[in-house]
Amino acid sequence: MGYSFLSLVREALRGQTGWRPAWRDAAPKPAYDAIVVGGGGHGLATGYYLAKEHGLTNIAVLEKSYIGGGNTGRNTTIIRSNYLLPGNERMYEKSMQLWEGLEQDLNYNAMVSQRGVLNLYHSDAQRDVYARRGNAMRLHGVDAALLNETGVRKLYPWLDFDNARFPIRGGLLQRRGGTARHDAVAWGFAHGADRLGVDIVQNCEVTGFRISGGAVQGVETTRGYIAAPKIGLAVAGSTSRVAALAGLRLPIESHVLQAFVSEGVKPLVDGVLTFGAGHFYVSQSDKGGLVFGGDIDGYNSYAQRGSMPVVEDVMESGMAIMPAIGRLRVLRQWGGLVDMSMDGSPIIDRTPIDGLYLNAGWCYGGFKATPGSGWCFAHTMARDEPHFINSALRLDRFATGAVLDERGAGPTPNLH
């Protein structure tokens, strides 16, 4: 049954008893035409677009636990396409365009909400850096507006304009940016992929690869061997571990990024705000909680927890621009594992092993890319070559020097 107001009303009249599972909990078949490893947003989106755009329906998405349980379910839900470098911007903008029609496409309300993303700046030099980025976005045909202090005051009059250590001088606004309901993105892609025949296999962990003649043959899993001529990895956070099973060593470190949600309050923060003189970004969920975060903890970790100094840094930065949130309470905090790539940008590419593809290195910003990443990865897997849109997100860029270093921070992941 499709999801709509009418179906909801019809079900209301019979106690919501007619619904079926949002996706089938499939058992793995012995062989598929393609396998996507990782049932997070990116993996599910890849499965969906492989089926929808490339007609590959005899495929499976394998998830070691339950779908959407990694970073898809533990991020700050921000969507935006406000990148500087063309190699990044065209992929994130593709993603934004997919977000804009996603719910109708998937028949699932992922609450994509374009209430604007505002990056505050605090100095003339920072304004000019943002102007460069905003202008690059405009050359891409993407919306960007550079606000002065008055413009920011109109949107957020209660920010600390008058007593700040780093006064707010203005901001770069992408009005089409905003948020989406993170869990629903995973469920929506699962729902959409399932309707196209994709098998979504939960509790199925990949434990090895069969490779012969330089080409991948299939995967060993906790639910047995599964053969497939094309295998795509979309396991951010665990990329190095899984890739090592195939003998690959990658330009990636796993780090912890913490995030926080406050108790619910009536509407306070309309869009997404980021602080330019500290690590802090915030939005308010439709349920009313402030959802916010800051910098990564900055050391290799596979433990899904952070340390206190970063917690304090985030709260201090929050209070620095929003002294009105002092009495709001942090309800929950959590840590997610992120793939920090060596230049701060992702990788969607083939690997040196034929038939094995890599989608990785999303740093702290993979959520916004979910549809675009899936779309590009599906293309790369189906056609065995990157689309123009992800043609700069190559694995060999570190060897050639064509790195995508948005911040100019160099090959130190915790500086990106």
């Binding site: 994509v112 102007a131 507006a145 600390d160 700040a164 250590r165 349920k287 949130i325 002092g326």
Partner: protein, 989 residues
């Protein structure tokens, strides 16, 4: 009035007047807002999140899901505060929340009628058409309806403190287990920190009637507290909740220092964050009673049976006039006994069991209650308050009992939360019928109810043993601790999860309105993993984090899947244990105190010169110096530039990083750090150098002077000063530990000024002590040396120029910085010496084409900046290998160029992109960007530096600078990046 005539831990001699929703009431010291309102007969406290159903008080502690209020008003308004945790004070004001127009009449209660439609996750299935309506129509409605209380919306007027504690044993919770543990550890001399969230020590001892060591529990707690005060190594923190556990024995606790007052005393923080490092910890956090899921279980008047005892015994409040007790076993009978003892009539006792003990029969008889064995509650009746309970007897016959209080004894959840903060998963224990701590954080032990032990005698023994063992592990041995004695017997856990039957909603999450039907729907739709269940239904995600209802939700799912509780599992408890104010975690770091501001030694001098300061990283630097009559920064800046180029100016450059390097291998280190060679630099000379990162991109630049054979001083950019030092330490300690070299930052030790302009030499000569020779012959361009000034103060002099003029930098120990500034001004008075700021400095460096922040952005190579030929070929240096990568040597890379507007009146802006003159405005035609701009008073028009594809080959070409975000497009001519005195005649003058 529901206040009992006697008893309780309240001070009846004093009265506190307080207001709830504008109505005035009286209470006593020792009350919570909840107990005081209950004492005044108030039953309706709030409205639920989704259906806006009337809600009362369920609990007597921080687990409260329903009785949430906005506490205080104005800038101190604090939404979502559980009335059960608010200590009453005189003048307290609280308001109900999430209702309109009033608590009694709430328009959004219409949602309750729509509840068949508003099932779990309904929003994922609708609001999709038309797409544009989400932001415009649906979402604004949802956002307004959601949320709970209102944030103050004004800057928090109070301040918050942060403090550190180190201890041997941290005891979390001062109930019977915690007190026994703290006593056992403290008596051995261990440094003990005892944290208790309540203002009183004692925990359940304050709420129950059991005796310890022959005295009432509350009295024993007071004795224990006195004994702890006699242990000099014990610190007691009341009103302090341990919020989270971090690695390696690190804990964060938040102390509510002044929350029990209308506002903090002068200079008193409202709350204090304690960072505690403990060798060992004993978790004695107790337990939370569960609410069973049954038809109508959310009506105000339904209360946890243990909370009923708390109100009776601790607060001397009868939470009802006539009670029904629902229990699955022995625990509810304690409530029967206490109600009877306090003279509260019991209309009925509903025990799920068919057989009870003789003592319980006696209690039932004494209470006069109608006893229903093997029975269940099938519904509740009433509006915003309970007035009756529907019961189905063992015979199936429905009965109705009038009652305004339904005490529910559903069983207890051990407070295992803190054991999960490092990832330990609670483990289902069939005997305890509860999730018990799984893998514990290293160094932590669990005692008492938190470990699933509920009999008081066993709790005390476990606490004492736990405290002694923790002290032992921390190095404090001693005899076995004396165990406080109690004589109660263990009560077999007989939980009630779900009672079927009945037609009303049965809630498993009172705040988020999650019902058994929602769990069934989640199951039907495939959201069966506990994490999916939580996320789909929002079970346990409310402010109470599911402390009372969560496990019943898991039980419901376990029943639906037939998998049992152990396999179903529970979600991981995330920090914090109870919600924590953001302000408390930020401490004093807000407003101007967010980060320290670094001031140069001559800051006061600059302020006296009417400087406007600007934040540059941590520093405040003079941006320009406004003179009388100047109305615009550009006026000031132009005057300053003209003064330097025409006569002489002085600029405080103390913020530049300064690193002093000594040792025989200093030259080798510098050769390794810089792309060019330094080891050949003669003593008394300065050289400009550029550093790369190991990936071949430019890291930093600056000059390094050779003061003596083995003593050098390096300057770095202001922004990179800390990172350059760190980088050098890495290179030395990790890559080249054999080199005999040492270095240290002296940025703070030296105040430094640039004196620039045609008259600079005369000013420097007059600044130095008499007799110093700074003639061009004695002290040529790029010379350095040691002189004296201010009557014998060492001065380091460098003849270097950023402005392109004849210029010097002179440094003195920072204590003399202010004096030197004044001395330079006096020495230059005859030439009209002019202080100049960052803007003039920037203008002159752009006129000279020196790269700075806009060009040294971490994305450019030495070749990009026109310094390719500086890269030595005969030595290894950091970044050398990676700079050879093809993409870094691509001739099409954007390269440093100058630009000037074709029409002299046009303004340039940094951040504009460069495109071929007639190219369409698309990214495919992007050819670079403008990095820095300035209005050049020397040339009379704007000039700029840019990174332009194949820049050097395009001098003379007209390109377009597009700046759509500021609405401008300007035609510019590409020129060499040096605009003034390209031959450098002036600086050698």
């Amino acid at each position: 009035m529901s206040r009992l005539a006697s008893g309780g831990l309240i001070d009846r001699s004093l009265s506190h007047r307080f207001a709830f929703d504008g109505r005035l009431y009286n209470g006593h010291p020792g009350d919570t807002l909840a107990s005081a309102l209950l004492a005044n007969g108030v039953r309706l406290f709030g409205r639920s999140f989704k259906y806006h159903r009337p809600r009362g008080v369920l609990s007597a502690g921080p687990e409260e899901p329903s009785a949430l209020v906005e506490l205080r008003g104005g800038a101190r308004r604090e939404p979502n505060t559980p009335a059960t945790t608010i200590e009453l004070y005189d003048g307290l004001e609280a308001t109900s929340q999430n209702r309109f127009p009033s608590l009694g009449f709430d328009l959004l209660a219409v949602n309750n009628l729509l509840s068949p439609l508003l099932s779990a996750g309904f929003y994922y299935k609708t609001f999709m058409w038309p797409a544009s309506w989400w932001e415009k129509v649906y979402e604004p409605l949802i956002r307004r309806a959601a949320g709970l209380g209102r944030a103050a919306g004004l800057p928090d007027p109070d301040h918050y403190d942060r403090a550190h504690l180190f201890c041997d044993v941290l005891v979390i919770g001062a109930g019977p287990a915690g007190l026994a543990a703290a006593l056992a550890a403290g008596r051995r001399g261990a440094r003990v920190v005892l944290c208790e969230s309540d203002p009183l020590l004692g925990g359940r001892l304050l709420a129950e009637t059991g005796e310890v060591d022959g005295m009432p529990g509350a009295d024993w707690a007071a004795h224990a507290e006195a004994a702890l005060r006699d242990c000099p190594s014990v610190t007691i923190l009341r009103r302090t909740s341990v919020a989270s556990v971090f690695d390696h024995g690190s804990y964060v606790a938040v102390q509510r220092v002044a929350d029990h007052k209308p506002q903090p005393d002068p200079h008193e923080p409202r709350q204090r964050e304690w960072r505690i490092v403990a060798k060992r910890a004993v978790l004695a956090a107790g337990g939370f009673e569960r609410l069973a899921a049954f038809s109508g279980n959310d009506r105000p008047g339904v209360m946890l049976a243990g909370a009923v005892r708390t109100y009776l015994n601790r607060f001397a409040v009868a939470p009802g006039k006539s009670a029904v007790v629902l229990t699955g076993g022995g625990d509810g009978w304690r409530t029967v006994a206490d109600l009877t003892r306090h003279g509260v009539p019991i209309a009925a006792i509903v025990d799920r069991r068919r057989e009870i003990s003789p003592e319980q029969h006696k209690l039932a008889a004494a209470s006069g209650a109608w006893l229903h064995l093997g029975a269940k509650v099938t519904g509740t009746r009433g509006g915003p308050a309970l007035w009756g309970v529907d019961i189905a007897g063992a015979d199936g016959v429905p009965r109705f009992v009038s009652s305004d209080l339904l005490a529910v004894a559903g069983g207890w959840n051990p407070a295992v939360h803190l054991t999960s903060h490092l990832g330990g998963k609670p483990v289902w224990n069939e005997a305890a019928c509860a999730f018990l701590p799984g893998a514990l954080p290293p160094g932590m032990a669990v005692a008492g109810a938190a470990a699933g032990t509920f009999a008081l005698s066993a709790v005390l023994a476990e606490g004492a043993a736990g405290g002694a063992a923790a002290a032992e592990a921390a190095g404090f041995s001693g005899p076995a601790p004396s165990v406080p004695q109690a004589s109660d017997a263990a009560i077999a856990p007989t939980p009630i999860w779900i009672i079927d039957g009945g037609k009303q909603k049965a809630f498993v999450d009172l705040q988020h309105d999650v019902t058994l039907k929602d769990i069934a729907l989640a199951h039907r739709e495939g959201f069966v993993s506990v994490e999916h269940l939580k996320r789909y239904t929002t079970l346990g995600m409310a402010t109470d984090q599911g402390k009372t209802g969560g496990v019943a939700g898991m039980a419901a799912m376990a029943a639906l899947t037939g998998r049992g509780m152990a396999e179903t599992g529970t979600t991981l408890h995330r920090p914090p244990f109870t919600p924590v104010a953001i302000g408390a975690l930020a401490g004093h770091h807000r407003g101007k105190d967010f980060r320290p501001a670094r001031l140069t030694p001559a800051h006061r001098w600059a302020a006296e010169q009417n400087a406007s300061f600007v934040e540059t990283g941590p520093w405040l630097r003079a941006q320009w110096f406004t003179q009388p009559g100047e109305t615009d920064w550009l006026q000031s800046c132009m005057r300053e530039v003209n003064a330097v180029r025409g006569s002489v100016g002085v600029c405080d450059v103390s913020t530049l990083g300064k690193i002093e390097i000594a040792g025989p291998d200093a030259g080798a280190l510098l050769d390794f750090l810089y792309i060019n060679t330094f080891s050949t630099l003669p003593v008394g000379r300065v050289r400009y150098g550029t550093m790369l990162r190991e990936d071949g991109f430019v890291f930093d630049d600056g000059t390094t002077a050779r003061l003596e054979r083995d003593r050098w001083v390096m300057t770095t950019t202001t922004a990179n000063a800390p990172r350059v030092l760190q980088h050098m330490e890495f290179v030395h300690q990790v890559l080249r530990p054999d080199w005999r070299v040492a270095f240290i930052s002296v940025t703070d030790q030296w105040a430094q000024f640039a004196v620039a302009g045609p008259r600079a030499r005369e000013v420097i000569a007059a600044t130095l002590d008499p007799g110093e020779n700074v003639s061009d012959a004695a002290f040529p361009f790029m010379a350095c040396g040691s002189f004296t000034t201010l009557g014998g103060v060492t001065a380091r002099l460098f003849r270097i120029s950023f402005s392109g003029e004849l210029a010097y930098e002179i440094g003195v120990p920072s204590a003399y910085g202010d004096a030197l500034a004044r001395r330079i001004m006096a020495a230059g008075a005859a030439f009209g010496i002019t202080p100049y700021g960052l803007e003039a400095l920037g203008t002159m460096r752009i006129e000279k084409g020196h790269p700075a922040g806009g060009e040294l952005n971490g994305q450019t190579t030495a070749i990009d900046l026109g310094m390719g030929r500086m890269m030595a070929t005969k030595k290894d240096f950091i970044g050398r290998a990676m700079a050879q990568r093809p993409a870094l040597r691509d001739p099409q890379r954007p390269t440093l160029a100058g630009i000037r507007p074709l029409r002299p009146q046009d303004r340039l802006r940094a951040g504009a992109h460069l495109l071929a003159k007639d190219a369409p405005s698309t990214i495919a035609h992007d050819a670079g960007w403008v990095t820095s701009v300035a209005f050049s008073p020397s040339l009379g028009h704007w000039i700029g530096l840019a990174m332009l594809t194949n820049g050097p080959a395009r001098h003379g070409e007209i390109v377009r600078a597009d700046d759509p975000v500021r609405g401008g497009s300007v035609l510019v001519e590409v020129v060499p990046p040096c605009f003034v005195d390209p031959e450098g005649a002036r600086l050698r003058g």
